[in-house]
């Protein structure tokens, strides 16, 4: 129980010099809180990016045809991919740009001609009405589902479901509106109009599929399925690998997360330096404290304190000081993070491990920088120390 006693003693000497102790702790407080705030912001933004990518659909592979003159991927071709092992669902897309008009209001939007499975593959949410159905595709129905922005532009606050719009001069009935997804990486997911695949082929006068979305059953199978798709495409279009690309959503996610992780590490590193500076502050004050308490050390040694006792006393004092600073820093860091996330709408993500690591690091900094002053105190000659004024 001597440790407990030493901690009590350390608390007492910290309380005895409140202002100085606070100023000493300030370095650690700022260090720990900035570590927590910066890493939380870094992790928050990487989480936000991951979420955005995931909104495109989970376990998603995308086949893009760049040169449709050479690579003519028909709707029938895409059905072959559905039969591959591990593929859950596919959605072929015929795309283009069209002008849509409601009365006198007109706008240019991206056309996506696809099937009902697009909804599951891309995880598209419908805010009003319904999505495209297989029957619409089969009977070439002149119906349309609008992206959130498109609906906003054409109809304002009105409910577009059941209304008619002109797509390149042809009249279409609006059956649904997509929920807003927000844009990611330069593409707006909301400035679109979705038509049944067969109808879109007529509008664009093109039967070839430009894009095919393939959803895997699980994330583990993604790489394997990707290889399988590439092999199939190679067989279908030999010597034209440059004309299409297969794109793994996981790759994008990995790239993005490596970028944000580097950012987070950098921010954490900078904050860590301030924690180190705080440690030097502790060393400074402990050295002052040792020379100020030389007499006390002499008295303690005279009545039988061993070197180890004195060393431990000052080490514990440094550790308690930095632990206190660490705890206050954690509170401050979490508070600042919360304020930033509310006021600046930053996405902030706390993790227990970061808090723990920041705290342990502050404790270690305190102990490491406490060793030198403490050993200085422990080595004092009792006679000199008693005579010291």
């Amino acid at each position: 129980m001597r440790l407990l006693q030493s901690i009590k003693m350390a608390m007492r000497s910290i309380r005895g010099n409140k202002l100085r102790s606070f100023l000493t702790m300030l370095g650690i407080i700022i260090g720990v809180s900035s570590v927590i705030v910066l890493i939380s912001i870094g992790q928050g933004s990487s989480k936000a990016v991951a979420e955005q990518i995931n909104q495109l659909g989970t376990n998603l592979l995308t086949v893009n045809v760049m040169n449709s003159d050479i690579v003519k991927l028909t709707v029938e071709d895409t059905e072959k991919f559905r039969k591959l092992d591990g593929v859950k669902e596919i959605a072929p897309v015929v795309s283009g740009r069209v002008s849509v008009k409601n009365g006198t209001t007109a706008t240019q939007v991206s056309l996506i001609g696809t099937t009902a499975s697009y909804q599951t593959v891309r995880e598209a949410q419908v805010s009003q009405g319904r999505f495209l159905s297989d029957i619409d595709v089969e009977y070439r129905q002149k119906i349309a589902v609008l992206g959130a922005n498109t609906a906003q532009t054409l109809f304002g606050m009105e409910n577009p479901v059941g209304k008619y719009i002109q797509v390149d001069g042809i009249s279409f009935k609006v059956v649904g509106v997509l929920a807003s997804k927000g844009g990611s990486m330069g593409q707006s997911g909301d400035d679109v109009i979705l038509l049944p695949l067969s109808t879109a082929q007529r509008i664009t006068k093109n039967t070839n599929v430009q894009t095919m979305y393939i959803q895997a059953k699980s994330a583990e199978q993604l790489n394997w399925i990707m290889a399988e798709i590439e092999r199939t495409l190679m067989r279908m279009f030999p010597d034209h690998q440059d004309s299409y690309s297969v794109f793994n959503q996981q790759d994008l996610m990995d790239t993005m997360s490596s970028v944000t992780n580097t950012m987070t590490m950098m921010l954490g590193g900078i904050a860590g330096i301030s924690l180190l500076v705080g440690g030097i502050g502790i060393m400074n004050i402990m050295l002052v404290s040792v020379s100020e308490r030389t007499k006390e050390i002499g008295i303690r040694k005279a009545i039988g304190a061993k070197r180890r006792d004195i060393l431990l006393q000052f080490l514990i004092e440094a550790a308690v000081l930095s632990a206190f600073g660490g705890i206050i820093g954690i509170g401050l860091g979490l508070g600042i993070g919360q304020i930033l996330s509310v006021t600046l709408k930053l996405s902030v993500s706390y993790s227990v491990s970061v808090v723990l690591i920041a705290f342990l690091f502050s404790l270690i900094v305190g102990i490491v920088f406490g060793v030198f002053p403490a050993s200085k105190a422990a080595k004092l000659d009792p006679i000199q120390a008693l005579r010291y004024d």
């Binding site: 129980m1 001597r2 006693q5 007492r12 000497s13 005895g16 007499k295 006390e296 002499g298 008295i299 303690r300 040694k301 005279a302 009545i303 039988g304 304190a305 061993k306 070197r307 180890r308 006792d309 009792p382 006679i383 008693l386």
Partner: protein
């Protein structure tokens, strides 16, 4: 112990301190000072010894030797039957803790600790449990008549009271020797006499007491007086038998 204080039987008593040919030199600003030049001294259990001498006589150096705060260059020092001249710092600390109770001129209480906590301190370094420690410390404060001031800080006590706390601290480890360095140096004559009376009482209870002083009024109340001058020791007050006739 009672017999030990009786006349005649003292020389038969066990000597608790035995110093043979102790020398110590140190450098002071490039000058070599011979602080102790072959001092020999025997102190018996139950003694009340005063060491007197002018400043610069080697008195403080000798006290540091007796108090195991320093090591001699040559010579032997047996304390309670143990050679301690060649022990290392930690072993010396343990000896100080167990064998010697220090009483200093300026009391040297820790200002942030209460009287009781100050008294507990030697036991803390012995690794004793808090309950036991507090109980013994309270008993010692009772002995010096300060139990009702146990939770006061040193700054809230008078000089005499602080010195009594210091005496309680010296007593708490139940050491065979109490070593007092100018214990009355910072006190007025009335309080000084109170402190001396407490020490006399402790001596009657069997504690061996060594006082270092330059105050003759204090020294002459001891049973035995030795004088240090120029690093040499003199028995200035005859032998032990005559010591009881002082006053």
């Amino acid at each position: 112990m009672a017999e030990a204080t009786e006349e005649g039987s003292r020389q038969m008593a066990k000597s608790i301190i035995e110093i043979q040919n102790m020398t110590k030199t140190y450098r002071l600003g490039g000058e070599v000072v011979q602080a102790l030049q072959g001092i020999s001294l025997q102190i018996h259990s139950g003694d009340f010894l005063a060491i007197v001498g002018p400043s610069g006589s080697g008195k403080s150096t000798f006290m540091n030797m007796i108090g195991c705060l320093d090591r001699p260059d040559a010579g032997s020092y047996f304390l309670d039957g143990k050679e301690i001249a060649r022990l290392n710092d930690n072993e010396l600390a343990a000896i100080r803790n167990e064998k010697i109770g220090f009483i200093f001129q300026n009391f040297f209480l820790l200002p942030r600790l209460t009287a009781l906590e100050n008294v507990e301190l030697p036991l803390l370094y012995r690794g004793m449990k808090i309950k036991e420690r507090q109980q013994i410390a309270q008993e010692c404060l009772k002995k010096v008549g300060l139990i009702e001031r146990a939770h006061h800080l040193p700054s809230q006590l008078s000089g005499g009271q602080q010195q009594r706390v210091a005496i309680a601290r010296a007593l708490v480890g139940n050491p065979p020797i109490l070593l007092a360095d100018e214990p009355t140096g910072a006190l007025d004559s009335k309080t000084s006499q109170e402190i001396i009376n407490i020490m006399k009482g402790l001596n009657e209870q069997g504690h061996t007491i060594i006082i270092i002083t330059h105050d003759w009024e204090v020294a002459k109340q001891a049973k035995r007086i030795v004088r240090i001058q120029d690093g040499r020791l003199f028995e200035s007050r005859g032998d032990f038998i005559e010591a009881s006739s002082v006053d």
